[in-house]
Symmetry: D2
Subunit: 344 residues, 4 copies
């Protein structure tokens, strides 16, 4: 049994990790920490999980390092970079769900998130999208679990970037996310009454996921890419749908691109490529680790539209984290991640 | 492996059975029928299930009876009573999710649903609430899977009726259901725009689940009971919450009643009794087979309030059906029914 | 022009008062106060009101008393009782939307809300349901604007209590409210993700509106009444639907009761009595000052079900407050309150 | 008083026209037709409008032409083109809310909607966006009321096209609409359970509003424009938010563009330009005739993002139709269109 700990487990991502891990046949949860909830049972905070015999503690990283083999960091950014070194020095493996180890360039991190306190670790972290970087993840001691928006955009564009099909200067990602992406903090903007029956863009041109997306797209393309990224807030609990646009360098049909994507992602359990004319709904991936992809070429304007749908808390966070844990632990990648969506 | 068929699988209950059965380690789906969807793959109708290699057929009951051992009837009432005899005569076991075999009194059926065509079977059917009738279900060849509202109300009241605590003439069930209870028929009243940001009572004093609830409450109490039952339509996909009221015959505290319920349902995996002061949310049972129960005594007026929450498509339909299948098949009752709620 | 001020205007009730008053042909808004938002324009806090040229100030009650003739207090309870005397001593009229002057018995107030600091005013306040107490409101200098739940329940029961039709010991009010009733405070329980796709009862047997409802029902009946009141939280922005139950003293048909209600509320612009078999939806009163009422007698159990629907922010708060302002100002009661619901 | 008729009033647009016109001080509704609802009162079909003393009739166009001066056609496309000539020949004025007279090129109409039966009228129709074509509308006998998506996109882009600021080949409109845009037809895709907690693109690259948008953008620019337009379905009742992208021909700041928009739309009552860093929410225009616009220049990639929000049933349909009626009737353009949004 893999001994796992969730460090900073109070939020939506933490409880989602719990949901997945509690059904994992090869993992055991040995610690669940939260400074604010210490002493409370999981059921008193999250009634839907009242069957789990777990209690939040306020253990130090050092104490947790003695109990667990794999530690999921579900802390805010700036906090994860303080805890990670403790675990790594104790010889443990860390899967960090914050942004702290996603950006490889320290200066860019400092610009968007504030001063990094463990910059030496940046180059050691594997960027945790298994479909693209499985080899690096296998060997990594520190996995930087990707952001939710970046996961949807990068998986949507990777096959085109690798193939050299598109004009890199024309990429636009128009993304829409459910409210759980904002976390469980009590803030006016996340209140039911502010969100229900509403829809809006936010942080236009200045969302922190922009440099993360650009770093990874540039890496895939082998050249410097800058995109326009617009996040929007959907009145739903879960789900991200990114509608991505790019100009094609040469004439190609929707069918040809679909074939290319099928080839690119051949054998990937969690990628589903839609047939021509069908487009994903976030409700089709709810609660699952799937990334659903559809393509459409508008030949009149020689532009491709890619639609990418994930559950922000699963493939966009906790599910991908467990997928990474499975990889670094040498067990089948899909373990505990095969449930089907609850619909409607 | 238990060979199962879903007869009439096009609706929300049918696809929910599919979701549960496809993860069942001891069951196999050998047929999926639908007159209207014959020839279509499951994924073209329900994209979220696109991974399942299943196609709707239009097989006759006779043909299905040759393939399957257990048949789930997910047909409308009046249709199930025509198909069930074919399966039973072929020696198969039937779990009927319609209302056709729930009422034991033929005259009452005729009054609420129209002429019954297989009245001889009414006395053979076991009423499928395992927590109350496990012994009968074990031996049954025909299980009448209960209605969603009745499941929530009957489980909520059973311990009080058995104990003789309440004045039977004072029972009121104020129930609220999500929209999936209305099925997938294209009707104006179920349109998003008619339901969202709305809430209303419907069929006040005349809902067909009333005689079913009264039959079962009377049976538990050993005397004739009539109740007031008011269904309401909630703007949510899933879930039923019933708030049930009754006058107490003698002074008793909330704590004493909670103890009584804990005793009554001891060992039941799918019943969760809440502690004093805590009350269930339908989101805590979403996608699961749980029935969550809470109690509160208002000593000023000597009245008890019972709150009962289920997922109408799981404990209120497909989940309870699989629970019944497990029982009649002699396998652990909770098989394939242990997943936790997806929240939020 | 009536010079009006909204004292404590930051919340949902405050902005709703603003929406209504800004279209009022005989009223002018001379001050809008908020300690936390002082200096901000209304449009920066509530973008949908960006057309109104108003700015929040932090004026003292004394300063506002010099500007306005009618003051709406949209403060929390305990705060309103401190501000009201200042306005009244300055000879101004006050419409208080908090609970501070609704309970006539000081001891009951102290029990539920804490020590009252202006108990001498309790007997001077008119309870502001115009359909029942229009004469008293006309002459009042202090109007206690009723709670949202109480408005729905009292209007629903008044005709039965006046007529002596029901057994007073059997009254149960099962009420369901939209989330705006919880205000705009940033609290976890009001977050979109905690509410959407959920439904739950809360404060069962202990909601502060219970003594207010009981006080008014007792007054109407002329004898002491205790009820069971259960509030629930609906995943909608606005609206309250109360389903009210009572045993009938004698046989009466639904039609007879409907006639009685029509007679009782004859001439009332804001009360709509539904025909037999029709039941209100909160979406039919959204944004309006209507109270929609429907009745159904279950003759089998000699019990009546009354359904009462209002918009909690309009008839349940700001709309009724403006109705009261119109009355005390001697202008037509429906002024500024005649818009139709926006549907869907 | 302007005598108005709504021809084909059964749908969401029809009832919205009714809501607006019933508060119009200079208009009177003399006929309300519907083939399917003939004989029913408005209140029996739309309970929220039960106060209006109106009944659906099945009058012929000829009969309605004798009663009304201005006829709103709220018929499906292909039906409006049959009715319009009757009214025009009788000397009446027609505001058509269908697509039948929006496209000036008969061949393009035939391609997207089927054979046009009154092509001679195409050149006579004024395209009813008052902010752009007020002069033509004033004199028109036939107004083609614009589509909802086109209204949002055209108003969002007009100032840029007129100014020659952008590369016309780079325009992308990513639009999201509430469900009322699909009408009140009973279809599975509009059911609550299919839409709630979901989000998806539809008709990617093939929505019928594409040629309408391109026609109008080309007209404004004075050259042939082709765009990429992607509609999405939002789980809300009302509202369209279009996020529009285009490459800038030269360096310009967000502030300069905002100034340009403010100048372009100076004096327009229904256009609200947001300050830098603020972005509209569809909830801020709900139930109103506003079009809210925000701009953001991403200087890194020299691209502008324009966000345009309207209520699809008001500025996108019934409200704009009444605005057009006001113009052709010579009364103040904002009459009956000044109510503020109901929020939350």
């Amino acid at each position: 049994m893999i001994k796992t700990a969730i460090y900073g487990a109070s939020g939506y991502t933490g409880q989602e990790l719990l949901r997945i891990l509690s059904c994992h046949p090869a993992a055991e949860i040995v610690a669940l920490t939260s400074r604010t909830l210490t002493g409370q049972t999981i059921g008193s905070v999250y009634p839907h999980l009242c069957g789990l015999p777990l209690t939040f503690t306020d253990l130090s990283p050092e104490a947790v390092a003695e109990l667990a083999d794999v530690i999921f960091l579900a802390l805010p950014h700036n906090a994860a970079m303080k805890a990670a070194p403790v675990f790594l020095e104790a010889g443990k493996r860390v899967i960090d769900l914050s942004a702290d180890f996603r950006l490889r360039d320290e200066r860019i991190y400092n610009l968007w998130y504030g001063k990094h306190e463990a910059p030496a670790l940046l180059s050691q972290a594997a960027y945790g999208i298994p479909e693209l970087y499985r080899r690096q993840i296998e060997k990594a001691r520190l996995v930087a679990n990707p952001g939710c928006y970046p996961t949807s955009v990068i998986l949507g564009l990777a096959p085109l970037l690798k193939g050299g099909w598109i004009d890199h200067s024309t990429i636009i990602a128009d993304s829409k996310s459910g409210v759980s992406g904002a976390g469980r903090e009590a803030q006016v903007g996340s209140l039911f009454c502010e969100v229900a029956e509403g829809f809006r863009a936010y942080k236009v041109g200045e969302h922190r996921h922009t440099p993360e997306i650009e770093q990874e797209l540039s890496r895939l393309a082998g050249s410097d890419i800058r995109i326009t990224f617009t996040p929007h807030l959907l009145p739903v609990n879960r789900g991200i749908l990114s509608t991505i646009y790019a100009s094609l360098k040469r004439g190609v049909t929707t069918g040809e691109l679909i074939s290319h994507y099928q080839e690119f992602y051949r054998g990937e359990e969690f990628i589903r490529i839609y047939q021509k004319g069908a487009f994903p709904n976030i409700s089709s991936v709810r609660g699952t680790n799937f990334c659903d992809l559809a393509l459409s070429v508008d030949e009149r304007v020689r532009r491709v539209t890619i639609i990418s749908a994930i559950d922000n808390l699963v493939k966009g966070a906790a599910g991908q984290a467990v997928q990474n844990m499975n990889i670094i632990s040498g067990i089948p990648e899909e373990t505990a991640l095969k449930s089907l969506p609850v619909f409607p």
